[in-house]
């Protein structure tokens, strides 16, 4: 039986994101209640709340940690159309001998005209670089030219993707080998159609010194809710997990002989429909060998790669109980409900309907 340690987050509303720091010893959560909370792990492995503050004047969608080399730095993005950079300050010890820690806002990035849906720090080798995407489909790159001065985050690039963006992920490259350009994948949750591509690859062009959209992945046409590149670990290809109507694993393989254009082939390495519902989250383990996905069915499923194939190696239910009786029945009941609605829709004067 899975033992799940419950943490009372004490957020006053829904939690939208949780993120571990580089070492996995600190955790940050953010919620619609506009608060961000930081948790530290003690020796027994328990998570203790160490900071909590009102970060925005709207729902906080995402929270992410910078590499510890730059200090204890968080970035958040919010419905209030801003992204913010936070730094932890360790003050002089107080009477009790404990260190006083608090988080201060170092910068507020106000360029977006709509809700900022995701924020992610770039690979450490680029320095302090930050990418955001917003509901109006603009990806922005900010860079702190001086790592010691977190207050300065000039906007460096804007890439318009013309699709409402929901998530982005940096390709975590460590060397230029097989990967000449910095790469970001941006996902769109546009649900107005299911024909257009919902995954876009943006690359930095060293020659023109600009970011540009270089590819859209045609195979993903349903709204994308989360995406994450696997840690590369020296692989000769890149794995991109996509949470959409199902779980996808895209494989980006560098082309050796491509002289121009998009130098990768993109293929779907795996696709799982086991959730039978919208998948909201995907996450890789530290080496990118196991993928976890979570969906509306309230389950976390684990997928492990064996040579060239992926298989389900575990299902974590959030309460230990069986999940929905069977995903398929849940599906059908939902459909029943839908049918009922269509019937109702045909009544011309709703005011004549007398059920309560």
């Amino acid at each position: 039986m899975v033992e799940a340690h419950s943490i009372n987050a004490e957020h006053k509303d829904l939690i939208h994101d949780v993120a571990f720091d580089y070492y996995g010893e600190r955790m940050a959560t953010c919620s619609t209640d506009q608060f961000v909370k930081v948790w530290d792990q003690d020796e027994q492995g328990n998570w203790n709340l160490t900071a909590s503050w009102k970060a925005h004047s709207g729902s906080v969608w995402k929270v992410t940690w910078a590499h510890p080399e730059f200090g204890q730095v968080l970035a958040t993005c919010s419905f209030d159309r801003t992204a913010a950079i936070w730094e932890e300050i360790i003050g002089e010890s107080n009477e009790g001998g404990t260190l006083l820690r608090h988080w201060v806002r170092r910068a507020n990035l106000v360029d977006s005209r709509t809700s900022v849906t995701d924020v992610k720090f770039g690979p450490k080798s680029f320095g302090l670089i930050l990418a955001t995407c917003s509901a109006d489909g603009v990806m922005r790159i900010y860079e702190a030219p001086d790592a010691m001065n977190l207050a300065q985050w000039p906007l460096q690039h804007e890439v318009s993707l013309k699709n409402p963006s929901s998530c982005l992920t940096w390709n975590p490259l460590l060397s230029n080998f097989r990967m000449p350009n910095a790469m970001i994948a941006v996902g769109s949750d546009d649900n107005s159609n299911t024909t257009n591509s919902k995954v876009f690859i943006c690359e930095y062009n060293e020659v023109s010194r600009r970011w540009a959209k270089t590819e859209s992945v045609a195979s993903v046409a349903h709204p994308v809710h989360d995406m994450i590149f696997a840690p590369n670990m020296g692989r000769s290809f890149y794995l991109l997990a996509v949470a959409t109507n199902n779980v996808r694993i895209l494989k980006l393989k560098p082309l050796t002989d491509a002289t121009s254009g998009f130098p990768y082939t993109i293929e779907t390495a795996a696709q799982f429909d086991d959730h039978y519902c919208t998948v909201w989250r995907v996450a890789w383990n530290v080496t990118g060998t196991v993928l976890a996905s979570s969906g509306d069915d309230g389950c976390v499923r684990l997928w492990k790669s064996t040579v060239d194939t992926w298989k389900c190696v575990g299902v974590l239910k959030r309460d230990g109980k069986l999940p929905q009786p069977q995903s398929k029945t849940a599906q059908s009941t939902a459909q029943n409900n839908l049918t009922r609605f269509f019937k109702l829709g045909q009544i011309t004067h709703p005011s004549e309907v007398h059920w309560h």
């Binding site: 939208h16 959560t29 929901s166 097989r178």
Partner: protein, 809 residues
Amino acid sequence: MRSPDHPCEILSPEPNMTISNSKGYILHEGPAYSLALNKEHTHVVVAGRNVFKVFLIEQGGFKECVNLRCGKTSSVQSSSSMDVAWNPTDDNVLATATTGGAVVTWNLNRSSRNKQEHVFYDHRRTVNKVTFHCVEPNLLMSGSQDGTIKCFDLRLKEAPKTYSSDSESIRDVQFSPHNSYVFAAASENGTIQVWDTRKAEKCLNKFSAHNGPVFSCDWHSELQYLATASRDKTIKVWNVTNKPVAEYTISTIAPVGRVKWRPYRRYHLASSALVLDSAINVWDVRRPFIPYASFAKHTDVATCIAWKGDPFVLLSTNRDSTLHQNFISEADLPLESANLQGMAINRDGDLVYCCPVNLSKVEVPKPKENSRKTSTTTSGEEELNTSSEMKVFRDPKIVTYLSDDAECIQMCAIQYKLRGRSIGELCEHNANVASSVGRPTVFLLWNVLRILYDRISLISLKEDIMSSSNIESSYDDDGEDRAGSSSDEDGLKADKQNQLGDFYFGDAEIDPLDAEHDQYDCLGLQMDSKTVEEDNDWEVPAESIALRHEISHQPIVDDPYMPELASVSNKMNNNNISAPLLRITSPAKFDAWNPSEIVVEALRHHVDQGDVQTAVCALIVLSDEIRNELTNPKRPWHLLHDEIECWWLNYLELLKQFKLWSCATTVIQLSRIRNILQLHRTSTSVYLSCGWCSKGLTRSSRHCYNCQHSECARCALCQRIVRGMYAWCRGCAHGGHIGHMKQWFMENKYCPTGCGHMCEHYILCADVFENSNFGVHTCVFVTINSDNVKMAPTMGLKRQETTKATEIL
């Protein structure tokens, strides 16, 4: 939140809405400041500086009916209208408030083009608000900038009742739907007054509602709630049953100009910003953090909003001179598209997962929301799903797939032996490690490597194949002796030697690989032509050769014109150091069967499977000769140097993530790759400060140029100048002998000098003694030599320093 509104849009009065009205109706005369709907919600009147028109509301648009600003223009007519009201019972009667202080009534039934009925010149300043009584069609109320509220009886056309507030000006007046004698007035000083129409001398109730002007207020149709909107960017909902209490507070991103309760929805209200935010938001007051729905397509802020009698359509006039019908079905539902689940995995394989508590419930739509008929009493408000649960999964059984990897990597990183033995022994040891952590394929790989490259087996192979004399055999005995005596002690010694060497390594150390490589390139495959000297140069096994020695010999050996010296060095090596691990003197072996291709394939396979550790460790263990063969550019399958570097970087990243600093250092040291070795030489400075004046020691000296003290490194306890290892607090710059410091900080937290600083020694010393993984972030132990304060402790050196420190202690 699978919103209940989505399905019910089917039932909304405009089910076949096809015409997109996103651009709205453009008022060519300029923006309207206000709008009002008639009783039947079929017509809308808009009023502004230059516009005063009545429109018929159509599906997807508006049709102009009457233009009230025409004909002969009186001064009253030409002054701009601040507000407009439509009589709730008589569809022909309108009232407007003008900036000039007049309250004007209009009758659409008049036959002339001029529909003006009567003008009340009672206010001295701009009238901000006019409103009709809900049930008394002849009662008209106005609120003005002059701080008064006046109540007109349309039949009397004479001096009205005046309610004088002591505040500056009245922004909004609203009759209560619950009590026909009660009305509320919002004023610019942030107070709300509740009046009884019969008592003009004093208000019933007055309370301070906001920290800024209140621009708008609205009564709830059913509950004793009054919503107020203010410049302080908040909307507050007051329960005015008894003493007014702020039941809900919504904080928004901009000053709020208008607020209107949504009909038939108990907890919903619409709001528009005064400036900045062009969106019109519909809030669920119980969720004050994020709007339930948002009309975000507008290009400018809304000046006035009104529900079209049902909960599905909201009319708005905007500052960009447009008039809109906003359909809830077209609104953005921010929480609808938001990700309500959070999940993350940390390096140890702990999985944390957050999701809404009643996840399954939210998928069940609520049919009762659909019935518009139901009055507010039963308007089944959707239950809010406002709490998430957070769970950490770290059960060894099920999550084993997650933690497994992490543990393996750590175990292997710590237990693998990468140097100090022969290839065969290393491979055997590492194979055992791999099998003990449950990695059969890695176990196999190590064994295969052992069989392929172990010196002993190669020699036997050679003896079988080759008949020619081989230098190797001359070393053989030596080597085997060594192998026999090789013990942990030996390894330790070798380690030590290595450490010393590392500590002082110079620029040249990073060169050997490249030098060799170039040489190799020149030679191509003509290995048979290789001389003994060259051979000698190649024997740089990861074994106990202090790199320093090698460097000193290398240029000599490299030079083919100095064979004598080379042979000397050869002898030296032979005498001092164990036999070479591998001697490829026979090209025939390669020609016959070259295992390198398979090895390369195997390494790449492991890397592609996410196991970069195995590949890097194997490359470390394999000697240069083998590695050069693996990277031989003549082979189609050869490993690229960049590729190897990439593996290294990834592995180092992994080790750092696990805080295995010393392992990372070893891996860097043994990399034999220029770019990787350079990692050791970046950011290697530690800046010290003077123990007396705590100013930074700027020059490479222990003499402080600030306070002219030359005894910066005085031990705080024994007061003597510290030679050698020195423990130093980064906070107060005091310190001393490591032993003394250790003793002191076993019992004390504060600096021994009494400066009151709670030194970091306390933490750091504890670190050194309890935690062998002494981190990069805390570098304290630096040697103060007689002339060198600024040292070069790289990550690895620091490690050695701490090791030394612990040894001393």
